[in-house]
Every structure is written in C-alpha cells, then in structure tokens.
C-alpha cells in the first residue's frame, strides 16, 4: 500500500513538473509546422523543422524572451497590438487557428528552451 502511494505521489509530481506530455506537445508542433495551419516555419527557425524561413527570429530560449506563457499567447493571438508594422499574422484574432489550436501552439512554442 505504501509502495502504491509512493508511486501515486511520483506520478503526481511528474504530472505537475511536466504539465504537458510529449504527446500534447506533438499536436502543437504539428500545428506549428503545417502550411495550412500555423505555418510558423515559413518565417521562423524551429527545432528540427526543415527549410525554415528567416523573416522572424529563431524560436529558441523562449522562456527567457517572455516572462509568462500568457505574454507569448497574446503575441501569437494578435502581434499587431504590440507592433502595428509587424509581418506576423494575427493567428487568434483573424481565426487562422481556433482558440484550442492556439493553446496547443503556445504550449509547444513555450517548450522551446534550447
């Protein structure tokens, strides 16, 4: 019984320190790479994505560039609110992605810390 409780505690800790499983992140990654969805690769170097563009900055060390995940989400939702001249499409505001899809993309981009 004690062993079981220990396992449970371990599982809980894992779940809390890794709030998103690899599988969840892979949905966001797919949405970020897909041409008819986020298509982030069109402009950004990301992870192992092939043939990335160089219009925007490489997506790395993300958590040193944004204080909170909400900040990142606000930028992806509508970058024009921070810079009207930006080349970045307003993914949430213009419904390029659904709110759900934006969340998946945000989870994935937030995880890019190398």
């Amino acid at each position: 019984m004690k062993k079981l409780a220990g396992l449970f505690l371990l599982a809980l800790m894992t779940a809390c320190t890794h709030p998103k499983t690899q599988q969840d992140l892979s949905i966001g990654k797919q949405l970020s790479f897909q041409r008819n969805k986020g298509n982030c690769l069109a402009c950004h170097v990301i992870d192992d994505g092939e043939a990335p563009g160089n219009i925007g900055p490489a997506l790395q060390h993300i958590q040193t560039r944004f204080t909170t995940k909400e900040e990142l989400k606000a930028l992806i939702w509508d970058a024009t609110q921070f810079n009207p001249q930006t080349s970045m499409p307003p993914f949430g505001k213009n419904k390029i992605l659904t709110p759900d899809e934006v969340d998946h993309v945000v989870d994935y981009i937030w995880s890019l810390n190398r």
């Binding site: 069109a42 990335p52 563009g53 160089n54 219009i55 024009t80 080349s87 499409p89 213009n94 419904k95």
Partner: protein, 275 residues
C-alpha cells in the same frame, strides 16, 4: 486680405495633398539600394533571380529551351491572323503592335481609365466584332507573349500625364492598394516584397517589388501554363486569404499602373519562366 489668405492656404494644402509619384519612385529605389547595395538597377528586371543566384542558374538553363516557346509561336500566328472583317491586331496599335509593350499601361484621358496591354487587345477584338478573351490565362497569354517578345529590351515608359488629377488619383489608388493590409493573414503586397524582400519564406526568397512588371506573361513551372501578371496578383491574394480582385478589375489595373511607374526605365524581358 481674407481672400489672399485663403489663396495661400489653398496653395499650401493642395501642394501637401499633391502626390509625387517621382518622389515615391526615388524613395523605393533608395530603399532597395540600401538592402541590395551590390545590385545594379538594371538587374531588377530579372525579378527574384536578381537576388537568388542558385535559382538564377536553373532559370538561365531553362531559358535555353524556354517552355513558353510554343505559346510564343502560337501567339505570333494569332497576332497576324485577320479577324472576320479582314482587320488585324496590327491595325489597332501604334507601330503595328511591334515593340510597344513598354508604353503600357497608360492613362487614357478620354476614357478616364488605365489602358493595359491586355485590355487593349480585348478592345481591339471588340472593335472588330471578335469576342473578348478571358484575362487570366489561355489565348490572351499567347498574344501577350508575342507582343512582349517584340518589346524585349525596350525600357518601361509609364507616364502619368501632367495636370490629370484623375490619372494621379488612379496612381494613388494603386499605391494605396500596394500598402494596404488585407485578408486573413493581414499582409499587404509591401509586407513581403518591400519589408521582407530578400528574406526566406520557407525555402523561397521574397522578390523585390521593383521589377515585378518586366517579364510577363510567364510560364509557371508549378502550373505548367502561361499566366498573366494579373493572374499572379490573383494568386497572391489567394495565398494571403484575401478577397480576389478579378484580372483587369480597376483595382488590379491601378496596382499595375503603380508598379509599372516604379519600374520606369527597366528593360522588358517577357515572356519569361517562373517557378
């Protein structure tokens, strides 16, 4: 005194509102000169290949046996074939239609509209009781190919007639269209072809807008067809998920007028091949 003040005021305000296309053109040239300091002005006529040396090599290789050759031959034949009434295209154009593409588009003060070469071809047909051709692809691209071919090396000569407020306004609308953001992706023409010219979008290099009108019609390797400049405009609007203005609509003619004015002095080199 009061009327004198009003007079001065009107002069000042009208000069402020007075657009200056030549100043616009100079600004665009200066801008690209800063991004591509090594690139001679004449090279902008090559479009994206002027700044993409790898793609330029394969383009030059393709141009040795150009895929537009059949369209060109057919275009020559179509151009010279008389209409049912015996008249020919040559009868509708200055210099019998040879080496004149550099003078299009132009502002027609009488019709109060922009005359593009494609629209002049259809006007000629209608004048001779032949049905108008569809503007984006097909037969018109062949006739345009031949007319462009005879105009190779001619320098673009787009004129905005002095004292024509309407012509200036058409130019201004074309310019506004170029810089206006639109569509789901919220891009303007300038977002890609000014702000990010020379950068990579995926593995493609974004072409500078300067020189966009030099090389039409073009055989597109991705469609395996000849297409007009306006068809390319339509494809762009589709890509940015914006409403698609029709080929030869006032909006796209105005855009062509603006781009063509910016490209003044560049040599025509159509028909051409593009990816």
């Amino acid at each position: 005194m009061k009327s004198f003040c009003l007079f001065i005021y009107l002069i000042i305000s009208s000069s402020l509102a007075w657009a200056d296309p030549e100043q616009d053109r100079k600004q665009i040239l200066d801008f690209y000169q800063q991004i591509f300091p090594q690139l001679p002005l004449a090279d902008y006529a090559q479009g994206v290949y002027a700044i993409d040396s790898d793609a330029k090599k394969s383009w030059q290789a393709i141009e040795e046996f150009p895929p537009y050759e059949f369209a060109l031959e057919e275009g020559k034949e179509l151009f010279n074939r008389p209409f049912n009434n015996g008249a020919r295209y040559a009868d509708c154009f200055p210099n019998k239609g040879i080496a004149i593409a550099q003078n299009y588009p132009y502002w027609d003060e009488q019709k109060q509209s922009i005359i593009t070469l494609a629209s002049a071809i259809n006007a000629c047909r209608l004048q001779n009781q032949a049905p108008a051709l569809p503007y984006a692809q097909g037969e018109i691209t062949k006739i345009l190919a031949y007319m462009a071919f005879t105009s190779r090396g001619q320098l673009i000569n787009t004129i905005i007639p002095e004292h024509s407020q309407q012509a200036l306004s058409a130019y201004e609308q074309g310019k506004a269209y170029f810089y206006r953001r639109r569509g789901q992706l919220n891009f303007s023409c300038a977002s890609c072809h000014v702000d990010n010219a020379g950068k990579f979008i995926r593995s493609e290099i974004l072409s500078p807008a300067l020189g966009h009108t030099t090389h039409w019609p073009a055989y597109r390797l991705n469609t395996g067809e000849m297409g007009t400049l306006h068809r390319r405009f339509m494809d762009c609007n589709k890509l940015i998920r914006a409403p698609i203005d029709a080929a030869q609509s006032p909006a796209l003619r105005q855009l062509e007028f603006f781009l063509s004015y910016m490209a003044n002095g560049l040599a025509l080199n159509g028909p051409s091949t593009r990816k």
